[in-house]
């Protein structure tokens, strides 16, 4: 199940948020060896402030098994503020129609104990959840910074992420900036390939009046 947590809803979802920061520490520091800051087993960075949207994949037992973070590109974001060396100046973006997705990860320990499709299902759920929220907000593209391993996983579930420039070495990790278009067809394709039968967000997610239509 997808749970959206916006910056101003973090306290109300403190348990899920804490699990997310622990998952990020396990994945990015312990497993992938990224140079991220971990304190008390939780990974945070300066972009984890109030102007965020978190997309969480949560099990029936309320366990966070996947996550990503969304920032508006009109304000501070990773591609412009941390990884600007990754892309030519011309590909820099400030647009109200483009969101940035970062800190995308899946709990592979959880996924590997289950069916072989579980990794795809969680990944697809996250991408579709992100896409559905973006489309409902009038957003047209998602930019992202990721490593090559992630790129393969994304492409496998039908997310046609494209590089904006060749990958570069960041602390021993081949890192790349990419983008994909979001619209209803893209979300539907991702869901189909990753074995999800319906949209990850209820039609009423953004408006209780949706039910009346």
């Amino acid at each position: 199940m997808i749970v959206l947590v916006q910056g101003n809803e973090r306290e109300r979802n403190a348990g899920l948020m804490d699990q997310m920061h622990q998952l990020r520490a396990r994945v990015f520091k312990d497993r992938l060896g990224w140079a991220v800051k971990v304190e008390n087993g939780r990974e945070h960075d300066r972009f984890d402030d109030e102007w965020t949207l978190y997309v969480l994949s949560v099990t029936d037992q309320n366990k966070v098994v996947g996550c990503l973070r969304v920032l508006q590109t009109t304000g501070p974001h990773m591609l412009s503020d941390v990884f600007s060396a990754l892309i030519p100046k011309e590909a820099q973006i400030r647009s109200p129609l483009v969101w940035e997705s970062t800190r995308f990860c899946v709990d592979t320990e959880y996924a590997k104990d289950r069916t072989s499709n579980e990794l795809s299902r969680i990944t697809g759920e996250l991408v579709s959840g992100l896409g559905e929220a973006a489309v409902a907000s009038g957003i047209e593209h998602i930019v992202s910074v990721y490593d090559l391993r992630m790129e393969r996983i994304l492409r496998r579930i039908g997310c046609d992420i494209e590089r904006l420039a060749p990958p570069k070495d960041f602390g021993g990790i081949l890192t790349v900036a990419g983008l994909f278009e979001v619209n209803e067809a893209v979300c539907a394709r991702v869901r189909k390939i990753s074995g999800l039968s319906e949209p990850t967000l209820p039609a009423t997610a953004f408006s209780s009046i949706g039910a009346a239509a």
Binding site: T74, G75, P88, E90, R94, L97, W99, S137, H141, S207
Partner: protein, 239 residues
């Protein structure tokens, strides 16, 4: 018809040079889209002489503005409390109206002519400033849902361009509006009638990446679509 109007509104937004013109622009936009009100609230706007950097402008009636100020509603207004520090636009129907003061606040707002429906676009800029751009309407629930689907993107752009204009006209220069070489290149091919796919084939990019550069150029030019971006780039002598 609205599409043509949208060009004009985007052009007008760039041409606003005073607060009065800004107010007139909001009123005109509201009229053209059949909205009851539009409100812009900037916070921490980096302009000298603004108390707490607050810059507010609205088409709400003077009576409602006076009432709002005298009751100090800024402190309980749930749209401001909930609209800030988020990314997804806030539909006012999401706001829990069960607390008495909130129910009373919305009840009064309607009496003073604020539309039944509301949608607030949160924005975060580069200089620590934030802004809320709110639209109101009296459309039925079903019509409102349709309106949202159709114009969500338009209002993301209108909200952003208006915010940009507020900073700009107060003498606060934003990032350079210069087009990158890549953006000029895709605009030139678009100007000569090439599709995104054709342009991509010519310059060795995918159609989707071409579309992305066009979108970036469009925002840099404060235009509303590809054709508009081309027209502006030509008019400004950039391509």
């Amino acid at each position: 018809m609205l599409k043509n109007l949208f060009y004009e509104l985007a052009d007008n937004a760039a041409a606003i040079t005073s607060r009065g013109e800004g107010d007139a622009y909001l009123a005109k936009t509201a009229r053209q889209y059949g909205l009851t009100n539009i409100t812009y609230l900037g916070i921490n706007i980096p302009v000298v002489g603004l108390e707490h950097g607050v810059y507010a402008t609205t088409t709400y009636s003077h009576d409602w503005q006076a009432r709002y100020a005298s009751k100090d509603y800024l402190r309980i207004d749930p749209v401001i409390q909930r609209g800030l520090r988020r990314i997804i636009p806030l539909d006012w129907s999401e706001v829990d109206r069960s607390p008495r003061p909130v129910a009373q606040f919305f009840g009064e707002a309607q009496e003073f002519g604020v539309g039944l429906q509301g949608l607030t676009f949160p924005m975060r800029g580069l200089h620590g400033e934030t802004a809320l751009f709110s639209i109101n309407s009296n459309l039925s629930n079903v019509e409102w849902l349709k309106f949202r689907r159709e114009y969500m993107r338009d209002f993301q752009l209108i909200a952003y361009y208006f915010h940009d204009n507020v900073l700009n006209r107060e003498g606060f220069a934003l990032e350079t509006r210069m087009l990158s070489e890549r953006q000029k290149e895709v605009l030139k091919w678009a100007a000569s009638g090439k599709t995104e796919w054709e342009t991509g084939t010519i310059i060795g990019l995918s159609a989707r990446t071409v579309k992305y550069h066009l979108s970036a150029a469009m925002v840099s030019l404060r235009a509303v679509n590809k054709a508009h971006a081309v027209a502006r780039a030509v008019r400004l002598g950039l391509i």
